[in-house]
Each structure stands twice: as C-alpha cells, then as structure tokens.
C-alpha cells in the first residue's frame, strides 16, 4: 500500500468544497487498534492509513449518521461524504445504494483493494498486545509486524480474519477513486464454519446455538456496527408493542438474533463486523453466512455486487424454488 498516494488522494478529496468529510482509518490509541476517523480538511489526511489492521467497515457510518432537528433557519449540510472501502466494505455500499438507503451522488467511494485483514484476537494471542502503538504491514503473501523498532514476519495463515479466508471480492465492486493496484483474488475454501454446523443434527444445532445465544448480553454492538442494520425504527427498540422483550435470556436473545439474521438474508455482504465486535464471541458470521449460502445456492443471488441491481426480495423469478413452503 502506497501511503503517499493514499494521503495525497484523500487530501485532495477532503479539500473539495462539495465534500463534508472523508471517513478513513487512522492509528488507534494503543496496540493493534485502528480508529475510524472523520476528516474535514486536507491537513488531517496525513494521519490516514490503510493496513491489515483496518478491519472496521466504514460503510456503517453512511447510515449511522444522526439527524437531530436543526435549529430554526439552519439548513442541512447536503455535501458529499467520502469514504474509504475495502472489497467487502464496498459491497455494503453497493447494497445500501440498491436499497436506496443513500443516493449515489451523495457519496465518493475511495476503493482500497485489500489483500486481507487480520483477526486482532488471533494476532494478540500470538504476539500479545502491548500498550504501545504497533504497526502491521502487508508484505508479499504475509504480514510484517513492527513493534518496538523490531520487524517480525507473521504468516498470513496464522492471523488472517476468517471472513478474509472466504473472501471472493477483495477488490472494491464500486469505486470512484482507486488507491493502489487491484489484488489477485485468492483461492477460497467452502465456508468450513457453516459446513460444520450444517453437518450437525437439528438437535445438535439447537444445542449449539442455545449455548451461543444464552451468552448474549444484548449490547447490540452487532446490530449497530452492521452497515445494513439501519432501520430507523428497529423492532428491538420498539416497546409498544413489545416484539422482543428486553429481558436477557435465551428465548428473547434467540428472537433477537433470528430476527436480525432473517432481516439480513439476501442483504448481508459478509463483512464479518458483527462477529468481530461481539464482546462475548458469538459466531454471528456463521449465522449470517449460512443464510447467505442459502440465498446463493437456492436463488443464485449475491447481494452488494451491482449498485444498480435489484434487491433480493424484489428479484422474484417464476422458477424460484419454493419447496420450503409448507
């Protein structure tokens, strides 16, 4: 990744009069952390980075934006928002565009072809996280960890995020400006996490998910981080009527996760954010990728590839399978 090119390009974008801010990544406050950052002027582009630690999907900020009532006489700022995206993130942008969650001319997409990011927990397990800020770089197929002045080679296989092992779209599917050269897609395996669960009996599956969902503390970080969970009036927050009770127990937690998974069927772009942020390690990616697999297998549909395409639910074909309808 050419940081100079990144900073020059983003500085130019941030300087534009028609740009409100640019969302990118910067070094975090400690260890391996990277923070999403909102840049309003070109000078701040100096802090931007793109590295295997840039796990977060910034597309979520397109729909997370708050619109509090404006003081009388004040007009809404309708300038464009620029954002940096990896391949998976770009699919979220495309999907939001398909759903008309945002208008194409409201955004500038800065595409960053991505050779794969790391699972910070795996990295920290191997190279314990320290308070001091450290860097990780792509080097060839693998990574190089730079900390305390020392360069440590890290094998890709050891620390690559699970979603990246399965990634088929490392290059942005939508991009106004591309930084760096496209990367060559790699050989992916059939999602072993999902397959493992598919092989279980119904009872075993139930037992598996019961154990997972019972742990959920309902912090809603999975929902909030999800770029495609952007309903203005989420059924989880609805108390009148109460669809999902706020009581934290297996039954209500399951209702929550099933509702979310179904709402994402045919929409989830498999960016893995829900799984990454879960503070109690619930393998939510498996749940969402299972539904994605069903949609792909049964209907040949993959969301977030064509910003001008139709949403899954609106793409009915007369020969769609319907064997699951009782």
């Amino acid at each position: 990744m050419d940081l100079e090119q990144l900073r020059k390009t983003t500085a130019e974008v941030a300087a534009r009069d028609d740009v409100k801010y640019l969302i990118g990544w910067e070094k975090g406050t400690y260890g391996y952390r990277v923070s999403p950052v909102f840049i309003e002027n070109e000078a701040d582009a100096e802090d931007l980075i793109f590295s295997p630690l840039c796990t977060s999907n910034l597309a979520t900020y397109l729909t997370l934006v708050e619109k509090p009532p404006l003081p009388r006489g004040q007009k809404a700022d309708i300038r464009k928002v620029a954002l940096m995206v990896k391949g998976c993130d770009s699919r979220a942008v495309a999907q939001i565009l398909v759903e008309k969650g945002i208008e194409r001319e409201q955004i500038i997409v800065i595409g960053c072809p991505c050779p794969g990011v790391v699972d910070v927990d795996l990295l920290a397990a191997k190279y314990p996280e320290i308070a001091e800020n450290t860097e990780l770089k792509w080097s060839g197929e693998d990574f190089t960890l730079i900390r305390g002045g020392e360069e440590i080679p890290v094998k890709r296989e050891e620390v690559l995020a699970e979603k990246c092992r399965l990634c088929r779209y490392p290059n942005p599917v939508i991009s106004d400006i591309t930084i760096g050269e496209p990367v060559k897609p790699w050989q992916t395996e059939e999602d072993p996490g999902v397959s493992e669960i598919e092989e279980k009996s119904v009872e075993e599956r139930w037992e598996y998910w019961e154990e997972q969902f019972a742990r959920c503390i309902r912090c809603y970080s999975c929902r909030n981080v999800c770029p495609l969970c952007y309903c203005e009036d989420c059924i989880l927050d609805r108390l009148n009527p109460t669809w999902v009770n706020r009581a934290v127990n297996f039954s209500e937690n399951t209702a929550f996760h099933i509702a979310r998974a179904f709402h994402l069927a045919g929409r989830c772009v498999e960016c893995g954010e829900c799984e990454r942020v879960c503070p109690v390690n619930i393998p939510l990616g498996r749940l969402n990728r299972k539904l994605a697999r069903e949609v792909r297998g049964k209907y040949g549909f993959e969301p977030g590839l064509d910003p001008d395409g139709k949403p899954f639910q609106a793409s009915y074909k007369p020969d769609d399978p319907e064997d699951f309808i009782l």
Binding site: G31, R33, S56, L64, P128, R218, N245, N249
Partner: protein, 337 residues
C-alpha cells in the same frame, strides 16, 4: 489480618469446603468471558487477565425479577435473594467497583435486591500479576493488590496461594478451610511484596485525574465531545462491560397467566434511554450521550458520593468496536482544561 499459604494441590479441596454457591472465572478457548458457578472439576484457578463480563452480574444480574403477579391479578410476590455466594478470583478492580456502586444502591432508599446479594456474597480476590494493556487502576485510586471491597485477598506465588483475610466475613471464610493452610513465612511475604511492585510496574496506561473532576463541568460545550464521539456506534458494550455501570430499565412481561416486572441492564449510550414518551430526547445525539458517560463517572458520581465511578479495568477500551478510549478521552479533557 493474618497471612496463610495454600498449596495449589489443595485448591479443589479448598473451594469445595466453601459454603454457598462458589463462582470462579471460566476460561474457554483461552478467553475468559465471565464468571461461572464452580462445576467441581476445576483443578486450579485458570490463568486469566480478567473476565470480559465483570462479576457485577452476580450481585446485579443482567435481568432480575422484581416481583411476580398473575395477569389481571393484584397479588404481588417478590423473590428474596437468599443464596450464600462466594466469588473466588475476582480482581481487585471489580471488588472496588462493587464498593463504589454500593453507595448508589444505599443512597436515600436501600435497594433490597442488590444489597441483599452483596450482604450474602463474600469476595475472595486474586491480586493481579500481569495487568492487561489497558489497565489503569493505579490512576483512579486502585492497584493490582487493592483490598478495597475484598473480604480475602489471594496472591499467586507459583506453587502456593498466599491468602490474607481483610474483613470479618473473610476471616470466617478462611476458618471454613482452616486445616488446609500452612503458615506464611517471611519469604512468602517478601515474594508477595515483590509481586505487587512487579505488577504495578507493568501498568502502562495512566491518567492524571487531578483537575479533571473539577474541570469537567466547564468543558460542557467543548468541541472535544463531538470529536471523541464521532465514531461511536451507540452500542452498549462500554457500559454493559463496565463494573461500575449500574443503570437499568424496568419492564413488564406476561406469559400466559404468569407475569412479572423485572429490571434489566440499560445503557446511557442507547438512543431510547432518555427519550420521553413524547419523542423529545434531552440527549439527542451520541455526542451528548458520550459526554454524559464520562461526566457521570468523573464528575456527577464524584459530586454525589465523593468517588470516581471508574476503576480503571480497561474493559471499555479493550472491547470498544471502534477504539473509543476513555484514557485518551481523559487526556483530551485534560488538554482542554
């Protein structure tokens, strides 16, 4: 206070002798998610830095029935917490947190559920030997071997645990297992002191809270709040995993003829937390909510109870999905003063 040694071989016997429900940290796949009731198979305390979910959930369950009634009826039955409980392996920061939260649950009217559980619970702490990268307990009045809130403190001295009783409750607990201990000699006590200073030296993060407590109100309109909350997702991770966060919601639930009113953790970072029935929200954006979270811990709670409602456990930093870092926020507060 007296110090005794427990050979680690005798660990299962020791925890087996404790009366009441014994909770220990549970480590799975190398990760300590939470405390769990002793299953009986534990040969020793697992190695862990700290659990993701603080043991506050034992005395302040995430969801707790306040009372039950029949749908359409008026007879109310309230459960009474009455289970004797021992939390073994609680870290000093989390025990301090309970002590801090006690003030709130005592304020004005006693909260019978929380306080009864606290009364029934004995805290057997484990001093920290390897603090995590974001521990900053020493900045907010704690330390790797702080005894505040603990009934017994344990130190890991390789083959042995050194145990000291702090309170009468702790003394009574040690008496339950009296025959298992050996006398702690000067060597062991010296080893203990070394382990404390070693742990203290491993704490890398710090905040100088001086000036922050008094200065926060003056920074109400400061641009820093917008900056530090810009990337906030508005989830409840920081508050749910915080050992001093104690806010809750009360809801009713009916299933058939059985109904209950319960309380459940709530988070000031959620939009609907302060939203009036009319739709008006006095804290309309994440900026106001983040400002409230920091102020509550470092200003309001100090005003009310003369205590900082933060023990420096680092969980909100460790598990924030977008690296919102309270140490960094406090640094920026300090700069803005």
């Amino acid at each position: 206070m007296s110090a005794v040694l427990l050979n680690k071989d005798k660990w299962p016997v020791f925890v087996g002798k404790l009366s009441g429900k014994v909770w220990v940290p549970k480590v799975e796949d190398g990760d300590a998610i939470c405390f769990a009731p002793l299953s009986g198979g534990e040969a020793e305390l697992p190695r862990f830095c700290n659990t993701r979910i603080p043991p506050k959930e034992i005395v302040f369950p995430e969801t707790e029935t306040l009372y039950r009634f029949k749908a359409g009826g008026y007879e109310i039955k309230a459960p009474q917490p009455d289970e004797k409980t021992v939390i073994v392996g609680i870290r000093p920061c989390d025990a301090r947190a309970m002590k801090i939260v006690d003030s709130l649950f005592h304020w004005g009217v006693d909260d019978p559920y929380y306080l009864k559980r606290r009364e029934m619970t004995t805290l057997v702490g484990l001093a920290c030997s390897s603090p995590g990268p974001n521990c900053f307990c020493t900045s907010v009045g704690g330390g790797p071997a702080s005894t505040e809130g603990l009934d017994v403190i344990m130190f890991d001295l390789n083959d042995y645990y050194l145990l000291e009783d702090i309170t009468e409750k702790g003394k009574a607990l040690l008496e339950e297992a009296e025959g298992l201990f050996e006398k702690a000699g000067d060597d062991a006590l010296k080893q203990k002191d070394e382990s404390i200073s070693d742990a203290e030296s491993k704490i890398n993060r710090s905040v100088n809270v001086e000036g922050i407590l008094e200065g926060l109100p003056g920074l109400w309109e400061d641009p820093l709040w917008k900056r530090v909350s810009a990337s906030c997702l508005g989830c409840g991770t920081c508050t749910y995993l915080c050992p001093t966060c104690h806010c809750f919601d009360i809801q009713d639930e009916t299933e058939g003829f059985e109904a209950r009113r319960y309380r459940t953790w709530d988070s000031c970072m959620f939009e609907e937390y302060t939203r009036h029935a009319s739709g008006h929200n006095p804290r309309p954006t994440r900026k106001e909510r983040t400002r409230n979270r920091i102020n509550h811990k470092y200003s309001y709670y100090v005003d009310k109870f003369d205590l900082i409602a933060c023990v420096g456990c680092g969980r909100c930093i460790n598990y924030c999905p977008v690296n919102i870092d309270i140490v960094d926020i406090l640094r920026q507060v300090k700069e803005a003063l």
